[in-house]
Amino acid sequence: MTIFSGFLKSVMKLFETSGLVGNDPRNYVMILIAGVLIYLAVKKQFEPLLLLPIAFGMLLVNLYPAIMAAPTDTENGGLFYYLYLGVKLGIYPPLIFLGIGAMTDFGPLISNPKSFLLGAAAQLGIFTTFIGAIFLGFETRQAGSIAIIGGADGPTAIFVTSQLAPKLLGPIAVAAYSYMALVPIIQPPIMKALTTKKERLVRMEQLRPVSKLEKILFPIIVTILISLLLPDAAPLVGMLMLGNLFRESGVVDRISKTAQNELMNIITIFLGTTVGATATGSLFLSWGTIKIVILGLLAFCIGTAGGVLFGKLMCRLSGYKVNPLIGSAGVSAVPMAARVSQKVGQEEDPGNFLLMHAMGPNVAGVIGSAVAAGVLLSILK
């Protein structure tokens, strides 16, 4: 008799502690959203390397919120609580930048430094979106975090948000990566609308080759200048350039390879799942998130427009020697944005190879976003 009651009590306890009873109903909506993101990642291959871990983290935390639980006096925290410390403390984004630096060839930028201007112009989206976010009622720090979506750079967005508005990490990260994945869809109409056929037909001179010495000096010089002038950008820019120095020096292949492969992969898994796991139903399903999603899209579009328009200006000033289509690549989203420039250019003239010219603004956009991040952190922190 008493055993049967014990059994009943145990089953009741199991049922009461199950997600069916405890979970917020909004969590089920999030589970659906996670399913859609998994679908986009797997079937549509939208940035699967980050979207898949993000989506699964979102799934897990909405099924089992305790996976993000902070430790108490009597109990350990959840698995993701510990892995998330790397996000919260700002450790993962610079390490991912280390790997990106080791993968990036800054040659096209060095051979055509004017690309930096396009990388600057494409940050327009960040600062205009800030205005929008303020007027939609966000606090200044939140507005800064939302604006940085326009930088089109995942780790930069996470780095800034983790310092300014950690609670918004979920929606901002998801928005940032989603729009990065949608670059081939978002950018072309804007690029075509803002340029004339004549401009799109411009063929650019080939780039001068860049010597190894220049490539080695580049990361050192950029680190020194940016870290001195804008310290808040130093962790991102410094690690990006350290990775690039590993690459270009040619003497530390071992660690360069590990930085761009295993270390980056491990951090990608931890970062993705735990950033996804910040998107609990109660935080994510709010009017605020929808505003963030809209503002993020806006930021992306304005950034693209900024780059293209500045390219147009350079085109005119140079006497049609610069193709404005490479301006859109200034938003970062390496190397997709550069490939979009190439593709739109070839639609007009199949013999026009813009890819390499677009790589300059493209990598400049990474630096530009990090600089913009430094400005936002410095003003708003």
């Binding site: 080791a102 993968m103 060839d105 060095i110 430094p113 004017k114 930096f116 201007l117 990388g119 600057a120 112009a121 940050q123 327009l124 960040i126 600062f127 205009t128 800030f130 205005i131 303020i134 007027f135 200044t140 507005a143 080939q206 780039l207 001068r208 080759p209 860049v210 010597s211 190894k212 010495l213 220049e214 000096l217 580049f218 010089i221 950029v222 200048l225 940016i226 002038l229 804008l230 690459r247 040619g250 003497v251 292949d253 071992r254 360069s256 390879k257 761009q260 492969n261 190397p335 550069a338 190879f353 890819l355 390499m356 790589m359 400049a364 530009g368 600089v371 400005v375 936002l376 003003i379």
Partner: protein
């Protein structure tokens, strides 16, 4: 925040942000342009003397993914840029075009090749580099 404060903060951020980002990147533009010229004039001087500019010049010339044979030539003539015929230009452009995506991951490919072709003394060298710790 009232409306006026909102206007002020947002315009302040917009203007400061754009100005600082542009100044910073313009500054970088100038610096990179400057040191690029300095390096190249230095190297073309050095090229007239027996070459000894960089430690390992040989392993570099062939980016693994570049199918165009003219690429190495381009690498070896950094100072010659005027007077190139139309044809060479096209080849170069094609080489350049093919270079970007592959070029970025060159180091990975090259590393693999090296580890295969490593001689026993090369291994000693590797060891020497890896042993410090």
């Amino acid at each position: 925040m009232n409306f006026q404060q909102e206007v002020q903060i947002s315009l302040t951020v917009l203007i400061t942000g754009l100005v600082v980002v542009f100044l910073m990147l313009i500054f970088l533009t100038l610096v990179i342009k400057g040191y690029g010229k300095a390096v190249n004039s230095l190297q073309s001087k050095l090229n007239q003397r027996p070459r000894e500019s960089m430690p390992v010049p040989k392993p570099e010339p062939v980016p693994a993914a570049a199918p165009a044979p003219s690429e190495p030539a381009a690498e070896e003539a950094p100072a010659v840029e005027e007077g190139i015929s139309e044809e060479i230009l096209a080849v170069l452009a094609a080489a350049a075009y093919s270079m970007i995506p592959g070029g970025v991951v060159t180091s990975v490919r090259r590393a693999a090749v090296q580890s295969r072709a490593r001689s026993s003394w090369g291994m000693a060298g590797l060891l020497e580099n890896t042993r410090p710790f």
